[in-house]
Symmetry: C2
Subunit: 389 residues, 2 copies
């Protein structure tokens, strides 16, 4: 692979518009009941009809974002609308909290225990409001955003099983959510709010969750950023850390803050070195920072989103800094990801490989994999290489 950024931009554009988006357009739409099927086998056949609210919102977001950013295609807006209308009708309880799962018809199956459901709802309805101009969508987005702000200090609410006080910890996910959401909702927020939230979240991630000595991003730390010697406190989630680093790069680049960009690139490169499987290639899903056995039995699986977020982070890191290490790692990641996850025969990418890189689950979508990481990453990589060319 040479430095042919134009060809890379074309590769990502084609994969997005001729492979991945058509897969979801063809197989995922529930025209009868509304919303989307996400449990799709390799060929796109529906094997389960439950509707998981994270994934419903994420698909609304993708189609609205493409409409807003790329091209005003009426069919994209229509696809976003069948999800948005379904969720507007069925997605929340009487208090406006977002359920985790619904059945095909929209009846609630799993209670609103996850702040991420509200987070993805805010993202989805904000993009959809921008695309459709519907004021009811703006209202839903703002209500979900306020849910997130209200819930951020106790994201699981009454479903939180942690005993208070014994061993307080905070999670990387919370500042990540806030940063992400604030960028998504920027068109509805004041400049001052945006700047304050971004300042706060970037500082928290880079000061508390990033261990400068080890160069690793921890998933959970004590409130003061120190380490806690327990399973959760030792947990490294490389894909999540790397995703956080491109969020930080993206924010820092808007502010022309080269120091923070380079810190984020350093952390990303350290994480890649730490988490790359030298025997079989690919990035581990979970690791213990101190080399102890992790509690997650799936720790050595190779997951699609981990590798796609790494491609985005590396392409962005290279575009912003020109550092050779980014390019070397990009090539390595590109070769692994495109040869193991992509499935040009049937479209979309496989989600779950075993450690050796063999397909573990013969699916394109499920309870946790929907229309989100693949198209978002393809879109972002396309943008990076277009800028580079």
């Amino acid at each position: 692979m040479e430095y042919d950024f134009k060809a890379l931009a074309q590769l990502y554009k084609n994969a997005l518009l001729k492979d991945v988006i058509p897969f979801w357009e063809k197989h995922s739409l529930d025209w009868e009941r509304g919303g989307y099927f996400t449990c799709l086998d390799r060929e796109g056949n529906v094997y389960d009809t439950d509707k998981f609210v994270w994934l419903q919102n994420r698909q609304i977001w993708i189609f609205s974002m493409l409409y807003n950013q790329l091209e005003k295609r009426e069919d994209w807006l229509k696809i976003a609308a069948i999800g948005a209308n379904f969720l507007a009708q069925h997605g929340t309880d009487a208090d406006g909290n977002w359920y985790f799962a619904l059945d095909r018809a929209g009846n609630p199956l799993v209670q609103p225990y996850s702040i991420f459901s509200d987070c993805f709802a805010a993202m989805a309805f904000s993009q959809y409001a921008m695309a459709s101009g519907e004021s009811w969508a703006t209202e839903i987005a703002l209500q979900a955003y306020n849910n997130v702000l209200r819930r951020k200090d106790n994201p699981k609410g009454k479903y939180n099983k942690i005993y208070p006080g014994t061993r307080p910890m905070k999670a990387l996910a919370v500042p990540m959510i806030l940063a992400n959401l604030t960028l998504e909702m920027a068109w509805l927020l004041s400049e001052e709010t945006i700047e304050n939230v971004l300042d706060m979240t970037v500082r928290e991630v880079m000061a508390d969750f990033l261990d400068r000595d080890r160069g690793l991003i921890y998933e959970n730390v004590a409130p003061d950023g120190s380490h806690v010697d327990c399973f959760d406190g030792r947990l490294i989630n490389p894909g999540h850390g790397i995703e956080a680093m491109w969020f930080v790069m993206d924010i820092a680049s808007r502010r022309h803050d080269a120091t923070t960009i380079n810190q984020a690139v350093d952390a990303m490169l350290n994480t890649l070195n730490f988490a790359w499987d030298v025997e079989y290639g690919g990035l581990y899903y979970f690791l213990d920072a101190d080399g102890h056995p992790p509690q997650q039995l799936e720790w050595d699986r190779k997951l699609w989103w981990v590798h796609l977020e790494s491609l985005v982070a590396l392409a962005m890191g290279y575009r912003l800094t020109g550092r050779e290490a980014c390019w070397d790692w990009y090539r390595k990641m590109h070769d692994y990801a495109w040869s193991h996850f992509a499935d040009p025969e049937y479209g979309e990418w496989f989600g779950y490989l075993n450690r050796r890189g063999e397909v573990l689950l013969n699916l394109k979508g499920g309870k946790w994999k929907g229309c989100f990481h693949v198209p978002r990453a393809l879109y972002l990589c396309w943008q990076q290489f277009q800028a580079l060319s």
Copy 2:
């Protein structure tokens, strides 16, 4: 391997008394703070000091049971006591509900969300009360037993995330718990209570959870025993089903009910045929009854307890029925389990292998593996082969 039942009895006895019990005696005892360390690496070094209440109770149970059933060794009683005293002091909240996890000193970490914590407490303190003669231990056992009865219709209580009414299901674990507990508490219960509970639970397992047409035990079914076409409703947990079948055989043999014994043996054999990995050997951890991708990413791992419970079920099935299929399967399971999980070099058994049978986590104990399935199965297999010889 010939029909040398005497040699097999000796093998299991030696493994129990010269390998596995000494491993826990040597490495797991926290003389300083009380209770047990369960996070032990291959060699027995402690890598995490948190105390998981399931495993604390299960170790109390094992040492009390050995004292009650095998030999009145004072050191076994003393080991049971350091767990029992620790948990009597720290194990429950003010209302007597059993926490899920404590830190090394006994401070609560995870709330009492699991009915199994109460269940294992009832088992542990019942055995310990019998061993020690302490009336406070009997009181704790009875209180935990009443917790289980109170919680059985909503085992997770306020931590239950399932939305009520949309898609009611019941779990195999609940009748299994009740049957198991009733046998454990038999010395404290009336004959009538025992018979009623055993009648009810065996009938429920064999009529509702066992699908006679497919010969498979489902993990979750509708309240009337019909199937529900969703991830949880399609879930097969072969180790759990096989464990349930030896519980049923054990109960039925006390009642000289050959019909039920043979039904349980049939279901066990069908489950083994369904869940055996013909390519690499061993039993899968989770399967989808209809062949769809399971939601559990760890579905193809080979777990110690699945294989140990199968050894118990097969040895018991063979002892009770003399059916050749039990013996053929026993030999196959014996060869796989002893060659892959046992670790005579350092003692105890590995817990987690990948699909190919290679060690996945280099540990002898963790958050979910403690001093329980290995010694219990070794003890029970020893008893079966002693009876056969």
